[in-house]
Amino acid sequence: MGMTLVEKILSRAIGQAAVKAGDVVEPRVDLAMSHENGALVINQFQEIYQGTGLEAKVWDPDKIALIFDHRVPAESAKTATNQKRVREFAAQQGIKKFHDIRGDEGGICHQILPENGYVLPGRVVVGTDSHTTSHGALGAFSFGVGATEMASVWALGRILNVEVPGTIKVQVHGDLQSYVLPKDLILYLIGQLSAQGANFKVIEFHGPTIEKMSTSGRLTICNMAVEAGATSGIVPADAETVRYLHEEAGVKGVVEVLRPDADAVYDQVIEVDASELAPQLACPHTVDNVKSIQEVAGKQVNQIVIGSCTNGRLDDIQIAARILEGKKVARNVRMLVFPASARIYRQALKDGTLSTLMEAGAVVMNSGCGPCLGVHQGALADGDVALATTNRNFKGRMGNPSAEVYLCSPAVAAASALTGKITDPRKGA
């Protein structure tokens, strides 16, 4: 019997010829990532060692990544102190994949990992962040865990008692229309599956549309797989994955590519015709409340947000700049742009993308999670409506339970910035 991609990855990670969905395994971990919540992981890690007489040393400092992104620069003394604690721990344990608040190598964890070549196909990646699903874009099995689970990984180098997930195969064909983007595809799919539809399962993406999609687009769709409840999203590695790793992520040498078996057994197969797809929006207050743009066009908005681990890469910012070039953001709208990493920020600075956006009226913020989770920067007023390229629109998400958040692609966000209303980018763009 053939194996899905995740079954294959897990069988290798435990050194067995085969595993199947439902088996309980303890795979070795190739990369363990945390952000500011590393402060809690450290707390739990030290508690594990209490009374053991053993020194609290991580199993392998080269396999741990620590990246500050959620509240950068720190919004409070409390955050700054948490960050200090993580910084000191990284130095003390010899953790080199540590990305501090810096303009040369900082950024959002889910962008830092791929762009530095930390994630390779076939590997097992865990992160104390639910959007760790993103790294399935490179053909790894990558999923979110809590802080205590991570502390256990730091101690043992394995993740304990993992049930091999079943897989939903999503087969996508047809070319996306102009100004219809990977974000629209994943929003559509979440609407079809519901917020629970893929709970405890992996979504494996296939088909000509995915094969043609850039790694940036694949990161977007895998990032949001968790919004359908999925343990992870995954795209089998191919020529584009190898190109990205060599050309953009600085990976040297041969990249081994792992693919699912042709006779793998899937829990469910979903076919999507992408050529029919209109821009999609997730409406308040759940990510699966998805509507086509025709149904919500004209809705007044107060704040546009372009950025995040979902849609803060160079192509996302460039498409917004193309739509806004030589034009002005509507007077009653605030537009915030936050690139996903310092590297992307500098690229967008060099090629003029950021000045185009600023001349149109956008505010460019430093790389980080920014307004997405409502911790600092860009909080909403009572009754405000935000249109964001981020990944969650839960009540209170952008810092105010009396506000509303709609999720969309960068093209919809930019077209709407010009009018102050939800606007179809395919018209007049």
């Binding site: 689970e149 629970q196 699966d288």
Partner: protein
């Protein structure tokens, strides 16, 4: 007997259980003050210790969806809540088991605020309606962690085994 003190619907996210703006607070001893912070009345009752330990929160499907923040489990563990839901989101359920929060999967549960529930290993009985609802066991894969009293003691056991 355990009393239902809060009844919620489907897809209750971790942003509702523990809003992101309080995420700089991480210690399990400190997180309960922000439990359901935007449900102001309920949060006030928790802070004033007006709710008995072992009180029940009843929810629909996909409880704890969204962020992996462990504060969402630790803020419920502190006041010693029992959470009964039709089902749970994966990361939240694992965090709860890891921290020893009492989570019960009960796909057909019908209960309202104020109801008294009798909880056994296999069923929840609503004393008001007299109806009995079957439980779904927690994932077998996590049983060793539950038996050890949480992931910290379990990892400690494993660590000592490997170092011997």
């Amino acid at each position: 007997m355990s009393k239902v003190v809060l009844k919620l619907g489907d897809d209750v996210s971790t942003d509702i259980i523990y809003p992101g703006r309080f995420m700089a607070t991480v210690l399990p001893t400190e997180t309960p003050q922000y439990v359901f912070a935007d449900l102001v009345d309920f949060n006030t009752r928790v802070k004033n210790k007006a709710i008995q330990p072992q009180s029940v929160i009843v929810a629909g499907r996909n409880f704890g969806c969204g962020s992996s923040r462990e504060q969402a489990a630790s803020c419920l563990k502190g006041p010693d809540f029992i959470v009964i839901a039709r089902d749970f989101a994966r990361i939240f359920l694992q965090n709860s088991i890891n921290l020893g929060l009492n989570t019960i999967i009960c796909p057909s549960i019908e209960a309202d605020e104020g109801d008294e529930l009798k909880i056994s290993a296999t069923h929840v009985v609503n004393q008001r309606s007299g109806k009995s609802f079957e439980l779904v066991p927690l994932p077998q894969a996590r049983q060793a962690i539950i038996d050890a009293g949480g992931l910290i003691p379990y990892t400690r056991q494993r660590l000592l085994q490997t170092k011997k």
